[in-house]
Amino acid sequence: MDPQPKAKILVVDDSSTVLIMEELLLRRKYEVVKATGGMQALRLAAEQRPDLILLDIVMPDIDGLETCRLLRGMEATKATPIIMVTTRGEQKTMAAAYANGATDYVTKPIDHKDLLDKVERCLGARG
């Protein structure tokens, strides 16, 4: 019997530190695809069709909120869970994230257990 294929997660962050950390955290259970900006994320999302996207808010090209809105407009990712990863933990930012189509959020510095729990919950909900 073939083993169940790993769920694919697209992680988007302009910080190599965060990308390495998220990859370390997720790669045991998931296939990880990395993007360092919003534009690359949109391209990879269309090509790779990830099961979940971890999206940084503060990025130099297109910010995470706009990227999230654009991802929601794409056929390939209109229903893909998107978890925002941000240093901006305040209500206003989170409300903007949800308004742009985010499914959930985690704040930096990332609590590993919190992130894994939310990833599992989102992927579980997706069925």
């Binding site: 190599s16 530190t17 965060v18 950390m21 240093t87 704040t107 510095p109 590993h112 257990k113």
Partner: protein, 253 residues
């Protein structure tokens, strides 16, 4: 013809015999029941002891489960800490470019410590003034040059000891002006010599205070960031990086 008295006597005898037999049967039955009660009491006592042993075993298993859960959480936290330290080390030593190392320090403090207000100072050999090499989220002007021994940051560089603000969120007792929001200051040290300092100001709003992991990161920054900055400066001064690039280009087929 029988005498009615004989008949009565016979009747009473019969009743007497029947009652005696009945009494004997009852006595025997009572003895059996007493024996049964005794057996059941012994059985019950044995069952109580078994139940007590099972309850004790369940309690022991539950305590063991709790201990394993606690240990699991500790290992998980330790694992998270180790991976954070690994990532930080990887980033600090992943380049021979001075600016890349500075960027790595910023990323570690922003993303792993949780602070978007920071300054990285370097101290020239034999120098007595810290120079601001890079910063994030602060007004650079008042911190461009900090004399060693002056203020909290200068004192940190003079003593080689990490400064941590005493109470979470409370104004730093030593600092005023540009140092008012200082949360920590980590001296950068190479072979026991101070080569700079990293000042960490206000933590992110949702982070209530420094955690044990942050102290580990400060310790790592104090030694590894210092070495990485020192080495990249040396590499830039010697021109070794240009030689390396030239070699890389020459090896392209």
């Amino acid at each position: 013809m029988t005498d009615p008295d004989d008949h009565l006597i016979h009747y009473f005898r019969q009743v007497y015999d029947t009652t005696r037999k009945y009494l004997r049967d009852l006595t025997e039955e009572n003895a059996k029941l007493c024996a049964l009660i005794h057996t059941l009491e012994r059985e019950l006592d044995r069952e109580r002891k078994v139940r007590l042993r099972i309850e004790e075993r369940v309690a022991a298993i539950d305590a063991e489960r709790q201990a394993y859960l606690k240990r699991y959480l500790e290992v998980e936290a330790q694992n998270a800490n180790v991976s954070n330290l690994y990532v930080a080390t990887l980033r600090l030593h992943g380049s021979i470019d001075h600016n890349d190392v500075l960027a790595a320090i910023h990323e570690i403090i922003i993303n792993l410590v949780g602070c978007e207000e920071l300054a990285v100072f370097e101290l020239p050999v034999q120098g007595s003034t810290l120079f601001l090499s890079s910063s994030h989220g602060i007004d650079r002007t008042p911190l461009e040059r900090v004399p060693v021994g002056v203020g909290t940051i200068g004192e940190c560089a003079a003593s080689g000891r990490t400064f941590i603000a005493t109470a979470t969120g409370a104004p730093n007792s030593a600092g005023a002006g540009p140092e008012a929001n200082l949360t920590a200051c980590v001296p950068l040290m190479v072979e026991g010599v101070v080569t700079g300092a990293v000042a960490i100001f206000r933590l992110l709003g949702h982070k209530p205070g420094l955690e044990p992991m942050d102290h580990e990161l400060f310790s790592l920054i104090g030694s590894h960031a210092a070495t990485a900055l020192y080495c990249t400066s040396a590499v830039e001064h010697t021109g070794a990086r240009r030689s390396l690039r030239a070699r890389a280009v020459s090896e392209i087929p």
